[in-house]
Structures are given as structure tokens and as C-alpha cells.
């Protein structure tokens, strides 16, 4: 029989550790989650925030310089027309995917452990997609005109965008993804914002959270429609998230370029996105649970489950790398074959092997339970995966472009310091928003955690 702190998994019949350890009561959950919002930020927070906003500021200056001078100050030139810009874009869009996977797909699969991490993971999604969107906007050359090019709008000359272009699909996919993720996140926040509102002593805070919570009263007649809407959001976000990275992969796969023109790209990109996203979730959660004392909510079990997903998706990605090589050989296309040999043993061999080591070899450590449950090990691995996944996009984009069909135009692409400065700046942009989120919004879905937690002091003590 399952005891109060060891609920039984209804599918496997195994006794599992509690989702929320240390038997927190409902009131204590509110207390723990609201504490960072209600107290003055710690020195650690200020240090992180200072670093993030300085990076953001540097990125902003470099972007302004880019707007003024043009994207020539990046390392781009013929034939490498895409470099760190699109690498950074794909990297951040990919990271976003884990948030939706946790909030939507795991919700549909009734994975209760998602409740501890879904709020922060969704926030990560939104900020990552914002970062990606801004990055892709800034690579267009004349950024102030870009919105006119990408969004089809009625105009006197009846000019429309080319709806057959994958780049246009991408505009719709990413903007829809951002819109729906934001609404989904906000809907999830409403009851928790109400909780913060009802705890508020400060008048300004009370006013702000009253407005933000839309005056939520917790009536069950409201919960009825709320739950229906929440389920629908999970249902529509699931195909949406799969479509977004598929469409991102179409940017490459629909072209004719060897190394890009492959049918494996959509599933390969989606697996890679989940892989990199979970690594980023792990990086952020490990730091967050330490800094905000949320170890009872983001437990070792949560982290272990995420590590398992990281290893699985890492191997999926590894399979895709191998499959690409096999198909390059099997296709009999000389160009395809050349591009892959060049990828692994050409001038960018180091990038290729960083990618393979970080994404395929290093996560194999997670076969061992000890490694899956060790904070330092998983933290380091999550950083390696982030690096590896950045290099994956770099390898795909740069190695396919730098040697085109005419050897006289081959060129070795090298990003300039402006490229790297902007990359760091965008990371600063992301972390600035994430730190503000931790400061102003409940980082853990209190309402959802209460719903899956064993009832404290309950009469009957069932698993609600």
C-alpha cells in the first residue's frame, strides 16, 4: 500500500516518491512560492540581473551599429549568407520547445510531475521565442522594413508575400507559436496571480495583481470553463510545437542545397529542439531551486526524469547524424557525399566533433542512476548539451554553405566579434526577462501543485 508520502503510480503499480516532498500544506505552498515576489531581491539576484542586463546593453549597442552599418559587419559574405544569426535563431526557437512539451504534451499524458516545472519552462519558451524572433528580424538587413516584407498586408499595389516560401511559413509558425504560448502561459497564471493578490499587503501590488488576475474568484463554475480551455490549449499546442520546428527545418530542407535538402530534417529538428530545451530547463531549474529554496517542488525525481528525456532525445539526434551519413552515401549523389565528408573532416571538423561529443557521447553518462541524480554532473552535462546544440546548428548552416558548387567561390566563414557580441547580447536579453519573471511572477504553478499533491491532513487522504 502506498503511504502518505509515497503515492503509487497507477500505471506501473510502483511506489514513487512524492511530487512535493516534506509534506507541505496548501498554505505553505503559497508561502514558499510567493516569497521571492514579496521580498526584496537577494544580492545573488542583483548580481545575475546586473550581468544579464549589461550583456543586453552590449548587444543593443552592437545591434544599433548593425542597423547603421548593415549586416556586413558580421562575418557574412558569399557564399556563406547565413552564419551565427540563423544559428542563434534556431538555437533559441529550439530551446523554446521544451517548455511547450512540458506544459502541453506532458499534460495530455497526465504526467503529474510536470507541475513543479511547467510555469518556469513555459516562461523560458516565451522568452526564448522572443529572443529568436528578434534575432531573425535583425538579420534582414533593413530591419525597419522587415515587417512589411514578412507580413502579408493589404496594399494598394496588391503585392503579396510568396506563400510558397518556407521563410514565409516560418513567420506564421513562429508568430503563432509565440502568441499561443503566451496566452497559454497567461491562462495558467490567472489563479496564481489571484493567490498573490490575496496575500498582498502592499496597495500597489494588490492593485497590479488584481488587474492581472482579471479579478479571478476561484468559483467552480469558472474552473469548469477554465479547465476546458486549459485542456484545449494543451491539445492545440502539441501539434503546434511539432509544427514549429518542422517549419524551421523546412527553411533548410525545402532548399536544394546538399546537406540541407533531406527528408529527415523535421523529426530530427524536433528531437534536437526538445533535447536542447530540456538541457536549458535543467540548467535554469538547478540554479533556480538552489537560489529560491524550491527544492521541495523541483525535486531530484523531476531532474532525474528530465535527464532521462535528455539522454533519449540525445540518442535520437545521434541516430539522425548517423542516418544523414548513411543516406549521403546511399544516395549516390557526389555533392551530398562530399558535404558530409567535409563536415566531419573538412575545415570545420572541430565544430562537428564538438557537436557529436556534447550531444551523443556525454549524455550517455545518464545510463547510470548515480549520474542522473547528481546535481554537479547533470548541471555540467546540461551546459555541454547547450553548447553541443548550438554547434549542431552552426555545423548544419555553415558547413553546407561555405563550399558551394563552384570551388572558386569557396570561403572559410569566420564570425566577427560583433557576431559573438550579439550572441551574448541575446543571451542577456533572455536572462533579463527570465530573472524579471522570477522576481514578479509565481515561478511554480501553485494551483497545479496543490492539485496533484497528496492532501495534507486530509480526511480520507486520496490522491486528488
Amino acid at each position: 500500500m502506498a503511504t502518505a508520502d509515497q503515492p503509487m503510480n497507477p500505471l506501473t503499480g510502483k511506489i514513487e516518491d512524492a511530487l512535493v516532498t516534506a509534506g507541505r500544506t496548501y498554505a505553505e505552498i503559497n508561502e514558499d512560492v510567493s516569497r521571492p515576489i514579496e521580498s526584496f531581491p537577494t544580492v545573488r539576484w542583483w548580481v545575475c540581473f546586473g550581468v544579464a542586463i549589461s550583456a543586453l546593453f552590449m548587444g543593443a549597442v552592437l545591434l544599433l551599429q548593425t542597423f547603421k552599418e548593415g549586416i556586413g559587419i558580421w562575418g557574412l559574405n558569399r557564399p556563406t549568407g547565413w552564419g551565427t544569426d540563423i544559428t542563434t535563431f534556431v538555437f533559441w526557437v529550439g530551446i523554446g520547445h521544451a517548455g511547450t512539451l512540458i506544459s502541453a504534451i506532458l499534460f495530455l499524458f497526465r504526467q503529474k510531475w510536470r507541475t513543479g516545472i511547467n510555469r518556469a519552462a513555459e516562461a523560458m519558451t516565451i522568452f526564448a521565442v522572443m529572443t529568436a524572433g528578434l534575432m531573425v528580424l535583425s538579420h534582414t538587413g533593413r530591419q525597419w522594413l522587415a515587417l512589411f516584407w514578412v507580413f502579408p498586408y493589404p496594399n494598394q499595389r496588391q503585392l503579396w508575400t510568396n506563400f510558397r516560401s518556407p521563410l514565409e511559413w516560418d513567420v506564421f509558425a513562429v508568430s503563432t507559436y509565440f502568441t499561443i504560448s503566451t496566452i497559454f502561459w497567461y491562462v495558467g497564471l490567472i489563479p496564481d496571480l489571484a493567490s498573490v493578490r490575496d496575500r498582498a499587503v502592499n496597495k500597489v501590488r494588490k492593485f497590479v495583481y488584481t488587474v492581472l488576475s482579471l479579478g479571478w474568484r476561484g468559483s467552480n463554475k469558472d474552473w469548469l470553463h477554465y479547465e476546458a480551455a486549459y485542456l484545449i490549449f494543451a491539445g492545440i499546442s502539441t501539434p503546434l510545437v511539432l509544427s514549429v520546428h518542422s517549419v524551421v527545418s523546412f527553411d533548410f530542407a525545402v532548399s536544394q542545397l546538399p546537406g540541407w535538402h533531406t527528408t529527415i530534417f523535421p523529426p530530427y529538428f524536433v528531437a534536437g529542439a526538445i533535447f536542447s530545451g530540456f538541457a536549458m530547463v535543467n540548467t535554469l531549474m538547478i540554479l533556480g531551486r538552489e537560489a529560491f529554496g524550491l527544492k521541495h517542488y523541483i525535486t531530484m525525481d523531476h531532474l532525474e526524469k528530465m535527464n532521462k528525456i535528455i539522454m533519449t532525445t540525445g540518442m535520437l539526434v545521434g541516430y539522425a547524424y548517423a542516418s544523414e551519413f548513411f543516406i549521403a552515401w546511399y544516395s549516390g549523389s557526389a555533392f551530398e557525399r562530399y558535404i558530409f565528408i567535409n563536415r566531419a573532416f573538412g575545415p570545420y571538423w572541430w565544430a562537428y566533433w564538438i557537436m557529436v561529443s556534447c550531444n551523443v557521447f556525454i549524455p550517455q553518462l545518464f545510463w547510470f542512476k548515480k549520474m542522473r541524480r547528481s546535481i554537479p554532473v547533470m548541471f555540467v552535462i546540461s551546459l555541454y548539451v547547450n553548447i553541443g546544440m548550438y554547434f549542431e546548428r552552426y555545423v548544419i548552416i555553415v558547413t553546407s554553405l561555405h563550399r558551394d558548387f563552384v570551388p572558386s567561390s569557396w570561403r572559410f566563414y569566420q564570425p566577427t566579434w560583433v557576431d559573438w557580441g550579439i550572441f551574448v547580447g541575446f543571451a542577456g536579453f533572455f536572462f533579463t526577462f527570465f530573472l524579471l519573471f522570477l522576481r514578479f511572477l509565481p515561478a511554480i504553478a501553485m494551483g497545479e501543485v496543490k492539485g496533484v499533491q497528496d492532501q495534507p491532513k486530509a480526511i480520507g487522504g486520496s490522491h486528488a
Partner: protein
């Protein structure tokens, strides 16, 4: 407080300490003489909709209708733009290249459906709400049933409605409510 109209009575509230005791009491209230009541909980309690006898939400129909509108708009729009408004030959593809329109058809269906879901939910729940929550613990750790006075007859708004707060209070107490009292409707910023 004692204005001529007076504060509007919201009903009688009874607090329960756990979702289980709330569920049990709710089933009894549903089958009792009090037809107008609602439950207030800090999170969505599983099984409470059935206990309260609520019909299924209509939000999915709103989503479905708008998602289909999105599909239709995307098909017609891309067709019109690519075939008639600005027929433009790209890579030898036909003007009406339906397979290439699929991604945007899909995305717009989701976009319309998703936005409509939010506004549909807000409409059914009458969000944003102008009235203050009955008790601040209801978003924290307590569960409650509020027995509401029956609404006045629309044909005869002056008629007295039959509602005894004492009776409601003692009924809630008999169901095991820890604490009962009258609650009034007040504005958030009143």
C-alpha cells in the same frame, strides 16, 4: 454601510478544510432544496463538476468554430493572393499550389482557435470580474460552498424572494462546514 439600498447579499458561505469534505458536502447541497449555489476552491478539484451537477463547458465549440474559420480564411486568402491578386511565377510552381499552403493553413487554424479559446473562456466566466473575492483564503488553502439567494423574478422584480440565511447557515453547518457567515458583493476597488 446602511445606505437605503444596502450591500447586495452574495449568499451564505461555509468553509471546508479539504477537497474531499467539500466534494461530499457539494453532492448533498446539489440534491437539497438550495438550487442556487457555487463552490470556491484554490485549485480545480477533480470531480467537483459532477458533484455540483454542472453541464460540460461550451468552450470547445467556440474553439472549433474559430479554428475552422481560420482554416477557411487561410485557404481562401492564400488562393486569392497567389492565384488572382498577385499571380507570380515562383520556381515553376502552379499559382494554386495547395500543398505549399498547408503550413499556413495549419498555423492560422491554431491561431484563430487559440485566441478564441481565451476569449471564449473569458466570456463564459465573465472575466474580468468586477466583484471582490468572498474570502482571501479561497485562493490559498480553504474550500467553500456559497449558497446564493435565488434570483428575483424578471417579471416581477419587486417580489420578495424566499431565502433564509439562518436556514442556509444551519444547513451548511450540518454538512460539516467549519465556519459559516453571510457574504456580500463588493467591487474590487470599492
Amino acid at each position: 454601510m446602511h445606505k437605503p439600498t444596502g450591500p447586495v447579499l452574495g449568499g451564505v458561505i461555509g468553509f471546508f478544510e479539504s477537497p474531499d469534505s467539500l466534494l461530499e458536502a457539494t453532492r448533498k447541497v446539489r440534491d437539497s432544496q438550495f438550487k442556487h449555489f457555487d463552490c470556491y476552491t484554490p485549485f480545480a478539484v477533480h470531480g467537483l463538476d459532477e458533484a455540483q451537477g454542472l453541464a460540460r463547458s461550451k468552450v470547445p465549440y467556440v474553439t472549433g468554430a474559430f479554428a475552422f474559420t481560420g482554416t477557411t480564411c487561410a485557404v481562401l486568402w492564400q488562393y486569392a493572393a497567389s492565384k488572382t491578386w498577385w499571380a507570380h511565377l515562383v520556381g515553376g510552381k502552379p499559382f494554386n499550389s495547395l500543398p505549399a499552403f498547408v503550413p499556413i493553413i495549419f498555423e492560422l487554424s491554431i491561431l484563430f482557435g487559440g485566441i478564441a479559446t481565451f476569449f471564449g473562456m473569458a466570456f463564459f466566466n465573465r472575466l474580468p470580474k468586477s466583484k471582490r473575492i468572498y474570502d482571501r483564503s479561497l485562493t490559498n488553502d480553504r474550500f467553500a460552498i456559497v449558497i446564493e439567494p435565488p434570483p428575483s423574478d424578471p417579471h416581477d422584480p419587486e417580489a420578495k424572494v424566499e431565502f433564509s440565511t439562518e436556514q442556509a447557515e444551519s444547513y451548511l453547518k450540518s454538512l460539516g462546514a467549519k465556519d459559516t457567515r453571510k457574504v456580500f458583493e463588493e467591487g474590487w476597488f470599492a
